[in-house]
C-alpha cells in the first residue's frame, strides 16, 4: 500500500493507515442496537400506572439527556477504536497539532562528496557534519519512538538506514570514516529521498536535515535557471517553470530540477538546510584537474610531454608539486596565470617497455583529495604495422602505391645507417596477392593498413583478418581505384552490421579523377571534408579550430557509401561517422568497432593524386595517418582510464592461472575464481569495481605454458569539478531558494532547534487508546448510574 502522502493532504492531519479508518462505520452498531431496542420491549399490564406516569413526567427530560449521552458515548467508542487503528497524526500546521505526541522522524541527508574533506580548524567539514548529526541524535528520544533515516550522497545516493533506531543510525555514522572520492549529486539524492523514502515509507511529518558545504557549482545552474524564465514567456512565474522541471523531466536545467525537488521536499517535510561553510572560502586550494601525455602511448626512447593542469582558488602566485613516473620523482615549481590556472609540463623519455604509472601531486593544502592525478602510459619499443600494398611495383615497396605512406610512417625506411634509431611505427609491406598465398599472421602487428587493395581473399585472408579485428586488432582501409566494390560488399558487408564493412560501397567511385596533364572541370568544384565527430581520437590533431582547416584539401573522386532509399545512412550501432563530405554529409571516414577491435574506412585513395590532394597536403596527410594509426594501435584507451567506481574488465586469449589486483597503498586482492571458459575467444576475469580510491591499480596475471605474464596499470581519477570550493552564503541560498519552504542554519544547528524542534507533529494513537479506556469506563459507570438510579 502506498500510504497517503502525509500532512500535505489534510489541513488537520492525516492517517497512517487510512484504510482502517473505515471501521469508524462501526458507530452504526450502537445506533442500530438503540433503534432495535426501541422496537423490542415486553408488555406488562400495570396497576400503579399513575405513579409511573408521575415519575416519567418528572424524569422525562433528564432521561432524554441521559439516553442521548449514553448513545453518543457508545457511538464514540467504535469511532475512537477505528481511529486508534488508523493512527492519525497532526502536522505542525494543524490546528490540532497541540494534542499530537512529539514523535520525531528525522532524515539526515549528508553530503559525502570529497569537497567535504576540506579542513576546517582541527577537523574536516565532514567531521563537522557527523558531529551535527550526532547532535541531532542527542535531541531525540527512544521512548518517544523517534526514528532516524540516514541518506548520504556522493555521485550516487546511499540509503544507509531508513526510519531506524538510534543504535543503527550511530553504527552507520561511525562507519562513515571519510567522504567518498566523488562529486556530489544533490539532485539524485533528492530523487531517492522523494521516491524511496517519502513516497514509499510512512513517515509522520519528517524533518529533513541537509548537511552540506553548499558548493556554488551545485547551484551555478540554479542561478542561471532563475534568470532564464524571463526569456520564456510561459515560465514568467517561477513556480510554473519549477513545476514543469520537477514533473519527472530531467531534461530541464539542473536549476529547475533542483528547485522543484527542494520545493517538493519543503512541502512534504520540514526542510532544514545546514550550511557547514556559510559561504566561507578556504584560504588556498589548488587542484590538479588534468594529467595527460602528448601521445596516447609512449615509444621506448622517444620523448613525450606530460602535462598537468592545475587550478587554484586563493591568491597564490605560484605553486609546487612533483611528477612521479614509475619510481622516478621530479619536483616542479610553476606559476599561475591571471585566472589562477597553470599548465605544468615535463618531457620524459621512457626506457622500459610495459605500462608506466604517472602521478602528479601538489603540495598538500586545505583539500588534499584533489591534489593528485594519475595516468597510465603504455610504453612500447615501436608499433609494428602491416601495410598491404594494393598496387605493388616490382620489389621496391617505395615505388608501389604504399610508397608515400611508408615514408610517412617511417621516414628512415630502409636506411641501413639509421637502423639503431628509435622508430614510432615499424612498417612491413606486403603485396596484396601475397597475403592469400600464405596464411597471414596479423597478430604480430598493432595495426594493418590496406592501401587500395583490389579484393580480400575469402578463404584464408578474410577469416584471419576478421579474427584479428574481433580479438582487438585495428585495420585501416584506404579505398582507391583498384578496389572492386562489388567484391568487397559481397565479402565484408553483412546486413546485421557484423561484417567489417559498415556500409555497402556504391557501384563505382564518384567524380572524375583529376589529370594534371589534361586538366578537369572537377578541379573548379571539388568535394571537401568536414568534421563530423570533433572529439574522435582518430582526428585528434584537427580538434583545434585552426587545424581543422588543414582538412579542406580538394577531393575529385571517392568511393561512395550506399545511402538508404529514404535518405540517410543506416550505420551499425558500433559505427560512427568521423569525417563527412561537406554539403552532402556523405560519410568519408567511418569508425566501425567489431568485437574488441576497430576498423577505419577512409573512402579516399591515400595514394592517388588524381583522386585528391590528400597525399600532397602534408599538413593533413601526416597527422591524420598518425592519428588514425595511433588510435588503432592503442586499441581501447578508455579501458585503462577509469572514474571512481569504474570497473576493471579484462580478458585474455589464454586462460589465466592466477590474477591479482594491487590497489593504491599496496593492498592486493587475488581473484578467487579464474574464468572457466572463453567467451568469443577471450578468458574474462571477474570485473573489479572496488576502485573507490583514486590512484594506480596494477593488474598482474600469470598464465600456464609459454604465455607471458601480464602487468597492466589502470588509472582511477576523481572528477575535478568538485574541487571548486566556492560555497554559497546565507543570502545567496535564501535568494536562490526563495520559493522553497526551508529553515537555514549557518555552520551548526542551534541547540534549541536540534533538541526540541518546536514545530513537530505526532501520532495520537496512545492517547486515543487511553480515551477509549476512559470512555468504556465512563459508559459503564453512566449506564449503571442511569439504570439503577436510586432516590
Amino acid at each position: 500500500m502506498t500510504p497517503a502522502p502525509l500532512s500535505s493532504l489534510l489541513p488537520l492531519g492525516a492517517l497512517m493507515n487510512p484504510a482502517l479508518a473505515g471501521f469508524a462505520a462501526l458507530l452504526a452498531i450502537p445506533l442500530v442496537i438503540h433503534l432495535l431496542n426501541r422496537r423490542r420491549y415486553r408488555t406488562v399490564p400495570w396497576a400503579a400506572m399513575e405513579f409511573l406516569l408521575a415519575a416519567y413526567q418528572k424524569r422525562r427530560k433528564k432521561l432524554q439527556v441521559e439516553n442521548l449521552l449514553l448513545l453518543l458515548l457508545r457511538c464514540a467508542i467504535p469511532v475512537i477504536l477505528a481511529l486508534a487503528f488508523a493512527r492519525p497524526y497532526f502536522g505542525k500546521d494543524s490546528v490540532l497539532a497541540g494534542i499530537g505526541e512529539l514523535k520525531r522522524e528525522v532524515i539526515v541527508v549528508l553530503d559525502e562528496s570529497y569537497s567535504m574533506s576540506r579542513r576546517v580548524g582541527n577537523g574536516t567539514l565532514f567531521q563537522a557534519a557527523l558531529e551535527q548529526s550526532r547532535r541531532l541524535l542527542a535531541g531525540l528520544k527512544s521512548e518517544r519512538e523517534d526514528r532516524v533515516t540516514l541518506l548520504t550522497f556522493g555521485r550516487e545516493p546511499r540509503l544507509q538506514c531508513v526510519s531506524a533506531g538510534f543504535a543503527d543510525f550511530e553504527r552507520k555514522l561511525s562507519a562513515l570514516a571519510r567522504p567518498q572520492h566523488e562529486r556530489g549529486d544533490l539532485a539524485r539524492a533528492l530523487d531517492l529521498l522523494l521516491d524511496e523514502v517519502l513516497d514509499k515509507q510512512v513517515l509522520a511529518d519528517p524533518e529533513v536535515w541537509l548537511l552540506s558545504d553548499f558548493q556554488a557549482l551545485t547551484f551555478d545552474d540554479l542561478a542561471a535557471g532563475i534568470a532564464a524564465p524571463a526569456a520564456d514567456p510561459t515560465a514568467s512565474d517561477g513556480a510554473t517553470a519549477d513545476a514543469s522541471a520537477g514533473d519527472g523531466s530531467l531534461q530541464g536545467s539542473l536549476a529547475g530540477s533542483l528547485v522543484a525537488r527542494l520545493r517538493k521536499l519543503g512541502e512534504r517535510s520540514t526542510l532544514h538546510l545546514v550550511n557547514l561553510t556559510d559561504g566561507a572560502l578556504p584560504p588556498e586550494n589548488a587542484a590538479v584537474t588534468d594529467l595527460r601525455a602528448s601521445e596516447s602511448l609512449a615509444i621506448q626512447g622517444q620523448a613525450l610531454r606530460l602535462t598537468a593542469s592545475v587550478t587554484r582558488q586563493g591568491r597564490a602566485q605560484s605553486g609546487s608539486g612533483r611528477f612521479r613516473i614509475g619510481d622516478l620523482e621530479r619536483p616542479v615549481n610553476f606559476r599561475y596565470d591571471a585566472e589562477g590556472k597553470a599548465s605544468v609540463e615535463l618531457y620524459h623519455s621512457c626506457s622500459t617497455e610495459g605500462d608506466l604509472g604517472v602521478e602528479f601531486r601538489l603540495d598538500e593544502d586545505e583539500l588534499a583529495d584533489d591534489d593528485a592525478r594519475f595516468l597510465r602510459l603504455p610504453v612500447k619499443q615501436s608499433l609494428p604495422v602491416l601495410v598491404v600494398d594494393g598496387a605493388p611495383s616490382g620489389g621496391d615497396p617505395l615505388a608501389g602505391s604504399a610508397g608515400g605512406l611508408l615514408l610517412i610512417l617511417d621516414p628512415l625506411w630502409n636506411d641501413l645507417e639509421a637502423a639503431d634509431h628509435r622508430r614510432w611505427f615499424q612498417p612491413t609491406v606486403v603485396p596484396w596477392y601475397d597475403l592469400s598465398r600464405t596464411k597471414p599472421d596479423f597478430a604480430k602487428y598493432d595495426a594493418v593498413i590496406f592501401v587500395d587493395v583490389r579484393e580480400i581473399e575469402a578463404e584464408r585472408v578474410l577469416p584471419e583478418l576478421t579474427a584479428y579485428v574481433e580479438g582487438g586488432g585495428g585495420v585501416l582501409f584506404l579505398l582507391g581505384e583498384e578496389v572492386r566494390g562489388e567484391t568487397w560488399n559481397e565479402r565484408l558487408w553483412k546486413g546485421d552490421g557484423s561484417g567489417l564493412l559498415p556500409l555497402r560501397l556504391g557501384a563505382e567511385p564518384l567524380g572524375e579523377a583529376y589529370d594534371p596533364a589534361s586538366g578537369s572541370a572537377r578541379r573548379d568544384a571539388p568535394f571537401r571534408l568536414e568534421i563530423a565527430d570533433e572529439l574522435h581520437p582518430a582526428i585528434r590533431t584537427f580538434a583545434d579550430d585552426r587545424r581543422r582547416l588543414y582538412l579542406r584539401f580538394p577531393i575529385f573522386r571517392y568511393w561512395p557509401f550506399d545511402p538508404e532509399p529514404a535518405g540517410g545512412y543506416a550505420l551499425p550501432k558500433d559505427a560512427r561517422i568521423v569525417l563527412r563530405h561537406e554539403g552532402s554529409g556523405a560519410p568519408a571516414l567511418i569508425d566501425h568497432r567489431v568485437g574488441r577491435g576497430r576498423t577505419l574506412w577512409l573512402n579516399l585513395s591515400g595514394v592517388d593524386d588524381g583522386w585528391s590532394n590528400f597525399a600532397r597536403t602534408a599538413s593533413a596527410y601526416f597527422p591524420l595517418v598518425w592519428d588514425m594509426l595511433n588510435f588503432l594501435c592503442l586499441r581501447d584507451p578508455g579501458d585503462h582510464e577509469l572514474p571512481i567506481g569504474g570497473a576493471i574488465v579484462r580478458g585474455f586469449p589464454a586462460p589465466p592461472r592466477s590474477a591479482s589486483i594491487t590497489a593504491p597503498g599496496g593492498v592486493a586482492r587475488t581473484f578467487d575464481s579464474s574464468p572457466r571458459e572463453a567467451v568469443r575467444g577471450l578468458w574474462r576475469l571477474e570485473p573489479y569495481s572496488d576502485t573507490r580510491v583514486p590512484g594506480l591499480y596494477a593488474l598482474d596475471v600469470q598464465f600456464d605454458g609459454d604465455e607471458l605474464p601480464v602487468h597492466e596499470l589502470f588509472a582511477v581519477n576523481l572528477d575535478p569539478t568538485e574541487s571548486d570550493l566556492r560555497c554559497l552564503e546565507r543570502e545567496a541560498v535564501e535568494s536562490l531558494l526563495a520559493r522553497v519552504k526551508h529553515e537555514y542554519h549557518a555552520r551548526e544547528i542551534p541547540t534549541d532547534v536540534a533538541e526540541q524542534a518546536p514545530e513537530r507533529q505526532g501520532e495520537i494513537w496512545k492517547r486515543l487508546v487511553l480515551a477509549l479506556l476512559v470512555l468504556l469506563l465512563l459508559e459503564t459507570l453512566l449506564a449503571w448510574r442511569f439504570g439503577a438510579y436510586s432516590a
Binding site: 431496542n37 426501541r38 423490542r40 420491549y41 415486553r42 408488555t43 406488562v44 399490564p45 400495570w46 396497576a47 400503579a48 400506572m49 399513575e50 405513579f51 409511573l52 406516569l53 408521575a54 415519575a55 416519567y56 418528572k58 424524569r59 432521561l63 441521559e66 442511569f786 439504570g787 439503577a788 438510579y789 436510586s790 432516590a791
Partner: protein
C-alpha cells in the same frame, strides 16, 4: 398438624379447589400457630366441652373432667355476637394485577376475605361481604349463621371485573355507609389506587356513622420493588385504562418508588387523622399477617367493652 400452616401461604392455598376449603384451611393454619385461643370471648355463659387441641389456652382446661376420666377438655362458652363485620373487596381492573401470574391481587383479596369471614362466623360474629368497583355491585348483609358463609363464598367467587373497570371509592363508601345501619367493623380490601382526598372523604363518611374501619391495602411485590430483568425495555399498559408507557424500568425505579411511597404515606396519614386503621400488605407475605391484624383489632374492641 404442622402441615396446616403452609395454607397460610397464598400461593399454596391458591392451588386448592373450592374457596370454602381454602378458607377453612387458612383459618385452621392460622389458629394452629396461636398460643391463645381466639375463641376466648367476653361472655361467660358455658356452652360445651371440646377436646383440647394444641394452641388452646390452658386456662380453659376443665380440670374436673380431667380428674374424672383423665382426658383433656376445654370449656367453651356461648359468646354473644358482639361484632358485625362487613368485608368490602375491590373488584376493579387494577385488582387483576399481575395478570397471568400465580396469585393476583384479587385472588389474594378473595382468600383474605373468605378466611376472615370463615373465622368471624366460626367465632359467632356476623360477617357480610360487599364487592365494588365504581359502585357496590354485590352486597351480602352480615350474619352469624354458618350457612351464610356459603353465600359469602359464592359472592366472592363471582370473580373480578374486566381490566378497564375503574375504581371510584367515594360513591362506594357513601353507599356502604348508607347500607350499613348498625355500627360495624368495615374491612376495606383494595389497592386504593385512587385519589387520596377522594378516598379519605369517603372514609370520613363511614366514620361519621361510627363505623370502625380497617383498610387493608394489597400491594404486589412487583409494585413494591419495581424490579425487572435488565437490558430490556418494558411497555407498561395501565389497567383501568390509565395509558401506556415504554420505558427502561431501571431508569424510572427511584422516582416511581418515591411516588408510591408518598401515596402510601398520604393515605396512612389521612387514616390516622380519621382514626382509621391502615394496614399495607405485601401479597407475598402469608395470610396470617392480615388475619392477626383483624383479630387483634376485634380483641381490642372486646376489651373496650
Amino acid at each position: 398438624m404442622a402441615d396446616s400452616r403452609r395454607y397460610l401461604d397464598p400461593k399454596v392455598v391458591d392451588r386448592l379447589g373450592r374457596l370454602e376449603v381454602k378458607a377453612r384451611l387458612i383459618v385452621e393454619g392460622f389458629l394452629q400457630g396461636s398460643h391463645r385461643s381466639p375463641y376466648r370471648g367476653a361472655s361467660v355463659e358455658f356452652a360445651e366441652h371440646r377436646e383440647y387441641v394444641p394452641g388452646d389456652d390452658l386456662r380453659h382446661l376443665d380440670w374436673k373432667v380431667y380428674g374424672r376420666n383423665d382426658r383433656y377438655y376445654v370449656k367453651q362458652y356461648e359468646e354473644e355476637t358482639n361484632l358485625r363485620c362487613l368485608i368490602a373487596l375491590d373488584t376493579s381492573g387494577s385488582m387483576r394485577f399481575p395478570e397471568g401470574f400465580d396469585t393476583t391481587r384479587y385472588q389474594y383479596g378473595t382468600l383474605l376475605a373468605a378466611a376472615l369471614a370463615h373465622l368471624l362466623i366460626r367465632q359467632r360474629d356476623a360477617a357480610g361481604i360487599a364487592l365494588f368497583d365504581t359502585q357496590v355491585h354485590h352486597f351480602v348483609e352480615p350474619h352469624t349463621s354458618p350457612a351464610h358463609l356459603q353465600s359469602i363464598f359464592r359472592t366472592l367467587e363471582s370473580g373480578p371485573r374486566p381490566p378497564e373497570t375503574r375504581t371510584s371509592l367515594l360513591p362506594v363508601l357513601a353507599d356502604l355507609a348508607e347500607r350499613t345501619h348498625r355500627r360495624s367493623l368495615i374491612v376495606l380490601i383494595s389497592d386504593f389506587f385512587a385519589p387520596v382526598e377522594e378516598t379519605l372523604r369517603g372514609l370520613a363518611r363511614l366514620r361519621t356513622r361510627k363505623h370502625d374501619v380497617l383498610l387493608l391495602q394489597l400491594l404486589m411485590p412487583e409494585e413494591l420493588t419495581f424490579e425487572f430483568s435488565r437490558n430490556t425495555l418494558y411497555k407498561f399498559v395501565g389497567l383501568e385504562g390509565a395509558g401506556e408507557l415504554i420505558v427502561d424500568p431501571r431508569a424510572m425505579k427511584g422516582e416511581y418508588l418515591a411516588a408510591l411511597e408518598q401515596f402510601r404515606r398520604d393515605l396512612k396519614r389521612g387514616c390516622l387523622k380519621e382514626k382509621i386503621d391502615f394496614e399495607s400488605i405485601d401479597t407475598s407475605t402469608s395470610l396470617d399477617v392480615p388475619l392477626t391484624a383483624i383479630l387483634s383489632r376485634r380483641a381490642r374492641k372486646a376489651a373496650r367493652r
